[in-house]
Amino acid sequence: LLPQLLLRRRPAPAGAFALLARPASSASGGLPPLTTEIHPGIKRGAFSQLTDADLSAFEAIVGGDHVIKDADEVLSYNIDWLRICRGQGQLVLRPKTTEEVSAIVRHCNKRRLAVVPQGGNTGLVGGSVPLFDEIVISTSRMNSLLSIDPVSGVLVAEAGCVLEQLDREAASQGLMMPLDLGAKGSCQIGGNLATNAGGLRLLRYGSLRGTTLGLEAVLPTGQVLDCLTTLRKDNTGYDIKQLLIGSEGTLGIITKAAILCPARPKSVQLAFLGLDSFQAVLDTYRLARRSLGEILSAFEFIDSESMRAVKQNLGLSCPLGEHSFYVLAETSGSNETHDREKLDGFIESVMSMDGCATDGTVAQDAGQFAHLWSLRERIVESLLVDGYEYKYDVSLPLADIYRLVEHMRTRLDGRVIRTAGYGHLGDGNLHLNFTTPKFDAKVLELIEPHVFDWVRDRRGSVSAEHGLGLKKSQYIRHSKADFAVRVMAEVKRLLDPNGIMNPYKVLPDE
């Protein structure tokens, strides 16, 4: 009786307790424009066309029920979560086993048919949907949890397992998944690995490059690469799985993963602070690292424009007054008394520091905890309500982070509904977003390449965690030396001689 009633009286938190809702059709109404219309310069590669013989071959591999040709069904696989891309794929295949994936890819390689691996389709750079008529290979049916070892903490799962469900399973063994992001209700672990997803707790648990112990993948030739070890240490030869992690589906399709899960914390505390300058945010961060030290598990900042979006567009309420910035500082540890003492010490310091936070709160129960996190996790969703969203995700030296936001806000003054800045301050990662009622090419021109040039000039990364996908592949040299890019191209040629695996993505057209 009680839990449902109680949850009803607080605004429904996304992420933790609900699937991330797909946004309604964009304000312009109906479907996004075809990606080929937005990027007319990209030409279809020299791939074959789908024939009836191909369809029969696929039906023989996965069964007729899992070969999707119906235009209405196929449409949803062609549109990305942000609704800024629409591909023209005609076919979706849904294999159940690694063997089926291998057979499909082998056939496509022989026939020179282009493919796009797709997990939860929550990527933000257009990397998970077709551009032309690439065949979508969906991992959604490969959703078995294979094993969890409560002693070593190693979890082995198929690529199509949804992150939030894996976290629930891990919880039953006193463990947790080492990553957490707003898309957790929909994203799949294969996609997380393919994009080297970061998220809210990278600060504490590190990146997937460290927590992935092994994986199994199907290479573009159809061969199965078995690197699925569960060993913590294995220095025998080149670590090929690292090539696949973060390759965004361009070097192969990940089919299984072995992840090292940390112990689930017994005590999680959350402080939410209101601050009036970015310098205060940086000072608070330094204080957090000193006073909270090893129990700090997340440090996020939100600017006033982002908070306004969440309040206006989603109707969420903020328990603090109006401030220029808000900070979420979370701690995770094994001893509640010890952690609360540390948090009390942190709060005392924060309140006595000059110009620092005087307005803030500490979550008293799980409901408040979820609500406060939703103010950060649902910013993306809230911005989509404005209409069309231009998303940027950059790494910068801490002092420069908000300078970029202010600079772009001035540059785009009057041309956009809002310029919102927020992100993983602890990782030096800014999420910068602009919104307009509908897609506006002139606004895009004002933003790109200017914003990337600004970042390059300060030796930052033009894509901290979202990846390059389709949308940023042309800017790779802003953050990587030319020779490095050429070595990448060699690796791509080696593993994918026919270039069928997720073409037009990650590496620039050359």
Binding site: L2, L5, L273, Q364, D365, A366
Partner: protein, 270 residues
């Protein structure tokens, strides 16, 4: 035990003295697990917080202070040493001082509303509140008894399942709107009285940092059941605690043909 207050106009008086009950319970978002020996549920290492209905009671007391209907608000909790944290939360929300009736661990599991109401009644003898607000029920046992029992022990009027508390027309009593099966019922009660809070009474505030810091310095008095002269002899014995029966898993089918086939198999369609 009779406690008569000056029936002066409530608005002109110094304000009511309110006693608020807070219980420390397993946080409502936690998935509760039964102990393997089926003697109870696992509480060790599990997140606890203030009973949500008690949060609402605390919020109401603080609001009444802000509206100058109340002069002093005191929180009380009957429980283990960790109940102090629950009281600190109440203090951080705006309560003036707190009382902790500490129950030794051995007796905690056998504590029942009958005991708690007797302890509260004793405290009311010395504190002499004008109004006691309790949560309508605790989310761990769902008893919904303590408020009613307390009113009976004190021979005070009770207004349970309150969704609104305000001064009556003539300001000499409290007008309480109650949530009942048929809808809403409005009654006038004279003070002193016992009121229990229901979900729609209010939405509890977040504790602000300055108040969290101030709460540390607010008085928190400790008492024992012996001092209050209450016998905690259990009247009930828990025989076993079990999970509700597990729902049998359904079967997922891959196509419409499969579905029709399965329905036919089970004789549900011809």
């Amino acid at each position: 035990y009779i406690h008569i207050i000056n029936k002066a106009d409530m608005a002109a008086s110094k304000g009511l003295k309110i006693l608020v009950g807070c219980k420390r319970v397993i946080d409502y978002a936690v998935k509760v697990r039964v102990k393997p020996d089926r003697s109870g549920v696992v509480t060790e290492g599990v997140k606890h917080s203030m009973n949500p209905f008690d949060e609402i009671a605390v919020e109401e007391a603080v609001r009444m202070k802000e509206k100058k209907l109340a002069g002093e608000a005191v929180a009380i909790s009957v429980g283990p040493p960790q109940s102090q944290e629950t009281l600190r939360t109440a203090l951080a929300m705006g309560i003036d001082r707190a009382i902790h009736v500490e129950i030794p661990l051995a007796q905690l599991e056998k504590l029942q509303p009958i005991h708690v109401s007797k302890l509260l009644a004793k405290v009311c003898e010395s504190e002499k509140p004008d109004l006691v607000i309790l949560g309508k029920q605790a989310i761990d046992d769902d008893c919904n008894q303590t408020g009613q029992m307390l009113a009976a022990l004190l021979d005070w009027p009770q207004a349970t399942f309150a969704s609104k508390i305000e001064p009556s027309q003539d300001s000499k009593q409290l007008r309480v709107t109650r949530e009942v099966d048929g809808g809403l019922e409005t009654i006038d009660v004279s003070v002193p009285a016992v009121v229990t809070s229901d979900l729609r009474l209010n939405e509890p505030r977040y504790a602000t940092l300055p108040n969290i810091m101030k709460a540390k310095k607010k008085p928190l008095a400790k008492m024992s059941p012996d001092q209050l002269g209450v016998d905690l002899q259990p009247r009930q014995e828990v025989i076993s605690v079990e999970d509700p029966p597990v729902r049998k898993a359904g079967a997922k089918v891959e196509s419409v043909e499969d579905l029709v086939g399965k329905l036919r198999e089970k004789g549900l369609v011809k």
